[in-house]
């Protein structure tokens, strides 16, 4: 269904870097010269998970005549912000830098992407906010990039891809979570793979369809990693937002981890209460791609997870997840819609809450997610 009122907060849309030439002003002399010397100064640096021609990478009516989907601010304003009456939208730039093996090049490109999004998008469009793209190849460089960007309140989250070198709960990533917690930045984990590993425990599937479907499994294994490693116990202010993850698999995860925890808790003693409770306190999910059939099934799933606070609105623009303006599932109550569109995003993102409060004192402040 269409959005019933204006003022929604879109927690996942995707401006795209046209090609690396657009980043040149945000790279230093060394990297400009280096990229051009290697003849990669017009290379796309596009993730294979989101190759521009793939059907899911852009809706037909959102596909530009030429160039990369999502690269045009005017089109994004018209098709995503104005079309849905959006109050704030979080830009997640899915850039190939994170798939490189050279951590220095990755860090330089991430820094350039963050500079580019701030100057060319956030400066021009007050409704936009952005996630900080960090190079997970090198934790120190990732932390340095968070520290560099965090003073700008328009950066509201840290962005990671769900499939990288190792499960993201691992201790080696903890400095990122420490820095994020310190600055009140949720950790946004987005679908996509650097293909360091085969997408399944039994190797490489043949079809794009399979890669796409199996993103959900990667999110499950990632969430179990965060639980088992004790990230939420170590950094109790952590908020985790799973983006483009789907949601219908969550009941299974809660039920299975609640049961297995009883058997394995001596191995993971930092999990001091049922995992389902930990997830409800710390983890949120963007709406699209909405992977539950319309009808009463969604309400059953929401009942199964026993919370109406877990879903935050997203259009996933310009990715193709729905047609027309039907960005919402059918048959949700008005109260639930208000939660998904406004209350849950504000409760999740402290920096959006601050911006909203500053702009409009009438919007109620909600308690932060439990600590």
């Amino acid at each position: 269904m269409k959005l019933p009122f204006a003022g929604a907060i879109d927690c996942d849309l995707h401006p795209a870097v046209p090609d690396v030439a657009a980043l040149m002003p945000y790279l230093d002399d060394f990297w400009r010269e280096h990229l051009s010397e290697r003849y990669i100064d017009h290379a796309p640096f596009v993730l294979a998970s989101y190759a521009p021609n793939l059907p899911q990478s852009a809706r037909a009516d959102w596909r530009p005549q030429q160039g990369v989907p999502g690269a045009d601010l005017a089109a994004l304003r018209r098709d995503a912000l104005d079309a849905f009456g959006t109050r704030f939208a979080i830009a997640n730039v899915l850039h190939g830098a994170v798939a490189l093996y050279n951590a220095d090049m990755a860090a330089a490109l991430c820094k350039a992407v963050n500079g580019w999004i701030a100057r060319e998008w956030l400066d021009r469009e007050p409704r936009l906010r952005a996630s900080i793209l960090v190079p997970p190849q090198d934790i120190e460089l990732a932390v340095a990039e968070i520290e560099r960007c965090a003073p700008d309140p328009r950066f509201v989250q840290v962005l990671l891809l769900v499939m990288g070198d190792r499960p993201l709960g691992h201790r080696s990533y903890w400095p990122i979570y420490r820095a994020a917690e310190k600055h009140g930045l949720p950790i946004g984990i987005h679908a996509g793979s650097t293909f360091r590993h085969a997408p399944t425990g039994s190797g490489w599937p043949s079809y794009h369809l399979e890669d796409s479907v199996l993103q959900a499994s990667a999110f499950e294994d990632t969430l179990v990693s965060f639980l088992a490693e004790g990230v939420f116990a170590k950094f109790p202010g952590t908020k985790l937002v799973l983006m483009e993850s789907g949601f219908a698999w969550l009941p299974t995860l809660l039920w299975r981890t609640n049961r297995s925890w009883r058997g394995v808790r001596t191995e993971v003693p930092w999990i001091d209460r049922p995992p389902a409770e930990v997830v409800r306190d710390h983890v949120r999910f963007t709406l699209q791609p909405f992977d539950v059939p319309n009808g009463d099934v969604l309400n059953r799933i929401i009942d199964h997870v026993r919370s109406d606070e877990l879903i935050v609105f997203s259009t996933d623009y310009p990715h193709w997840q729905f047609d027309g303006e039907d960005a919402l599932p059918e048959r949700l109550s008005d109260a639930m819609l208000r939660k998904i569109l406004i209350d849950n995003p504000l409760a999740t993102y402290p920096r959006l809450r601050a911006a909203a409060a500053a702009a409009d004192q009438k919007i109620p402040m909600r308690e932060e997610m439990a600590r």
């Binding site: 399944t200 789907g246 009941p251």
Partner: protein, 369 residues
């Protein structure tokens, strides 16, 4: 978990009469297989032993929790690992709980994960002999699963044809879901052709040893808690592969039992496949129907480890979505997370639904009547 079941209470209980779709017999030592191995492979076993895709020898790289992953009370008093002693299995489970039929799933030493393919084939062949002579012939309640290495389809096809002709106790074929390629890939199709030709079932059970890839697309976990979770996501990857590659268009009679892999994930996987397929169907023109329809038609699920929602009634929704005719009881005897047939189905259901899960669904799938 792993608390002893009080014997008085269960003895007094009514005889259930059920099919147990996951029982794990094991050799007391590798020597149990020697009568069924040629001298060459006995020597190979003594000199070299197994050759697997993992860093530890003689144990799993994700050590199991209590009692090495076994019911502590299932260790035989005369030595050997749990599951090696038929008399104890009878006393502790088959007789005590009133089991009518037990489907044996032989995991270790079956050659499924062995890197030396010829040694793997010899081990599979020996384990299949051993199942008949050391178990089925001593207790007719037990049914066997033909163990073959999926990485050696030429051997697998020969073995499946021979065993199916040899003994009626062989009701399914067990291969490892930790395969070198996703199980829908063409390499494995001769195995499915042989299974369909012989009217058997394909049984998939999570394997202990990996097949050359990390347990998840995110890489290797740290804790057994994570490894345990991949039993479900790993199987889901193979389900997606079997469906997407068109295995069920090519072999429309093929039936798959997913053992110890969970079941509540199946509806959401079906919905997700259908949604993505709607946008990408040109990539797989060999699929004639939405992917969830193949899932609904060709797959069966086992109960253990029983899903435990915070509100037990929520399982009703799940069963309505996957089909009450598709879930089969399994105990996982003698493993540590054994489910008791009296306690595992604790949510409300009709007597017919309970009978279906405990007995009738497996009876129909494995043609046990």
């Amino acid at each position: 978990m792993n608390k002893p079941v009080p014997e008085r209470e269960t003895r007094a209980a009514q005889r259930l009469g059920f099919v147990d779709c996951d029982i794990h017999p094991v050799q007391r030592s590798p020597k149990d297989l020697y009568p069924y191995l040629e001298a060459r492979w006995r020597e190979h076993s003594e000199t070299f032993g197994g050759h697997l895709c993992q860093g530890l020898s003689g144990q799993l790289s994700f050590p199991r929790m209590m009692a090495n992953g076994m019911r502590a009370d299932a260790y035989p008093s005369n030595g050997g690992p749990p599951g090696c002693d038929l008399e104890l299995m009878q006393r502790q489970h088959l007789d005590l709980n009133g089991c009518d039929t037990g489907m044996m799933v032989c995991l270790s030493r079956g050659g499924m994960e062995e890197r030396n393919l010829e040694f793997g084939a010899a081990l599979s062949h020996a384990v299949n002999d051993w199942q008949i002579h050391d178990w089925v012939e001593k207790d007719r309640r037990l049914k066997a699963g033909i163990v073959v290495s999926q990485e050696h389809p030429e051997f697998a096809v020969r073995e499946i044809d021979a065993r199916a002709a040899e003994h009626e106790a062989f009701r399914q074929v067990i291969i490892s879901p930790r395969s070198s390629e996703p199980l829908g890939r063409r390499k494995y199709w001769p195995i499915y052709e042989a299974i369909a030709r012989n009217n058997l079932v394909l049984g998939l059970h999570p394997a202990g040893a990996p097949g050359g890839h990390p347990s998840s697309g995110t890489g290797w976990g740290t804790y057994y808690m994570q490894e345990h979770y991949t039993f479900g996501t790993g199987i889901a990857g193979n389900v997606v592969s079997l469906i997407t590659e068109g295995v069920f268009e090519r072999f429309p009679g093929l039936k798959v039992a997913l053992i110890e892999s969970g079941f509540s994930w199946a509806p959401s996987l079906g919905w997700r496949m259908d949604k993505q397929w709607a946008h990408m169907r040109n990539e797989t023109p060999h699929l004639k129907r939405p992917p969830s329809e193949y899932l609904r038609q060709h797959f069966w699920f086992c109960t253990q480890p029983m899903e435990e929602p915070e509100e037990p009634a929520h399982l009703h929704d799940v069963l309505d979505w996957i089909g009450w005719d598709r879930l089969m009881f399994s105990s996982d005897y003698p493993h540590w997370d054994f489910d008791d047939p009296r306690q595992a189905l604790s949510f409300k259901m009709t007597e017919a639904q309970r009978a279906g899960i405990l007995r009738d669904n497996a009876t129909a799938l494995y043609r046990l009547a």
